[in-house]
Amino acid sequence: MPIAQDVNARLRKLPVWPIYAIAPLPPLWLLWQGLNGQLGVDPVKVMEHWMGLRGLQVLIFVLAITPIRNLTGISLIRFRRALGLVGFFYICLHLLIWLVLDVQIVGQIVADILKRPYITIGMAAFVLMIPLALTSNNWSVRKLGPQWRLLHKLNYVIVLLGGVHFFMLVKGWQLEPMIYLAVIFVLLALRAAPLRRMRLA
C-alpha cells in the first residue's frame, strides 16, 4: 500500500509530546467556562459528563489503532501510549468531579460504589486502568516482557466496562450510548476475526 507507506513516513516525523501538551487544554477551557457561568444551570453535570465522554472516546480510539493498521496499513502505534494516558487522565478528572462536586458525601460515595451497578462497573474500569497507566513506560515494557502485552490486553475489558457504564446510566432507550457500545463491540470483534492472516495472505 504505497499511500499507507507515505502516510506512515509523514507520521514518523511527527513528535509525540504535543499530545501531552494539548490534552490538559480542553479540561482547563471547560473549568474556565464553568467558573464563568457558561455551562448552563447545572455546570457540575456538564463537566462530569463531558470528561467521561471524552475519556471514553479517547480510549475507544486507542482500541481502534490496531484495526486501523490491519485494515489500512496506517500505523498510529507510536501515539498509542500517549493517547492511553490522556484517556486515563480524562477519566481521573471525570471521577474527581463526581467525588468532589457531585456526590460530596464520603458515606454515599462508598455506598454508591458498592450498591449501584453502573457505578461499580465504572469504578472497576477505573481501578483496572491504574496498572496500565503505571506500566505505560519503556522500563516496564522491558521489565515485564511478554507479560506486559498480556497485561495491556486489559484495555479490552476496560473500554467495554466504560461503554456499559454509559449505557446503564441513561433513562429510556437512548441512541447515543448504544452507538458507543456497538463501536466497541465491532472493535473487539475485529480482534477475534482472523484479519491479520488475511492481510499477510
Binding site: 464553568g34 467558573l35 457561568g37 455551562l39 448552563g40 444551570v41 447545572d42 455546570p43 457540575v44 453535570k45 463537566m47 462536586l101 457531585d102 456526590v103 460530596q104 458525601i105 454515599q108 455506598a111 454508591d112 450498591k115 449501584r116 451497578p117 453502573y118 457505578i119 446503564m168 446510566l169 441513561v170 433513562k171 429510556g172 432507550w173 437512548q174 441512541l175
Partner: protein, 311 residues
Amino acid sequence: MTPRWKNDLPYSAITPKAAWLSRRAIMAGAGAMLAASALPRGARAKIDAAPSSFSTDEKPNTFEEITTYNNFYEFGTGKRDPAANAGSLTTDPWAVEIGGLVERPGTYDLADILKGAALEERIYRLRCVEGWSMVIPWIGFEMRHVLDLAGVQPAAKYVRMETLYRPEEMPYQRQPILDWPYVEGLRLDEAMHPLTILATGLYGEEMPNQNGAPLRLVVPWKYGFKSIKSIVKIELVENEPLNTWKQTNPREYGFYSNVNPEVDHPRWSQATERRITSKLFGASRIETQMFNGYGEHVAGMYAGMDLSKFY
C-alpha cells in the same frame, strides 16, 4: 329532474373537534409560535394569581434555571434540548378530551376549562427521580376543578392522562425513546388533593413550552416524571393505569413514585439531592425529605401501604 340531495355521509365521518382543533393549530403558522416561545422572562403574557398557604418560603430557582434545565423527552433527552426545540409546539388553540367514567364527557377548550378556575401561585419543591431538585413558583389551579367540571362517576378510581402526540412538532416522538404518547396517572384521591394542581404558568407568566405548555400537572410530593406535561387527554378509569415510565422499566419506576429517601432507585440512592444552581462550587447536597416535605398533607393517603412495594 334532479334528485333531491341526500346526505349519505355516516356520522362517523365527522371530524372530531379535537382533531380539527389540532389541525388548525398546525396551520396557524408555527413560525409565529417559534418566535413566541423563545421569549425571555418578562415578554410573555402576565397571569394574575392569588398567593397560597401551600407555598414554601424557600428561595425559588431562577427563571433561567427553570426554563433551560428540563426533562421533556418529546423534545430531546438532553437537559437543554427542550428549551432549544420546544419552540415549534403550537399551544393555541388547545383542547383537552375528558372521558371515561365522567358525567359530562367531551372535548373541552382550554379557555372553557380556565373559566371559573381559581388561579393561585404555588411555590413548590420539585424533586426529580434523577436526584436533583428545584423550587418553582407555579401558577395553576387545583386539579379537582377539572374533575368537578366533568363530574366524576362513583365507579372511577383512577385518573389517566396523556401528553399531546404530534411528531411534526415534537421531533423526538419519531424516535422510540419511550412508547409515545406519554401517559401518567394518579389515584382519584391523589388527583382530588388540594396540593395537586394543573399549572398554566410560572413566575407570574404563561407557561414556557419547554415546561409543558399550555397545561401540565404538578404533584409536588411525587417524583417529577409524574407531573405530565402538555396534557390533551384526561380519563377517569376503574383500574390503575400503566404510566409510561413504569411500562418502560417496571423494576425502576412504579405507579406511585412518591418521593422517598428510604426507597432507592435500583441504580442510585434517593437519600439526598442536588438543589440546582448555576454556580460551579455552590451546589451542595441536601437531605431528601419524605414525600418531598409534604408528608403532613399527604402521608395519610398511604397509611398501611408498604411504600417499598408500592414505589
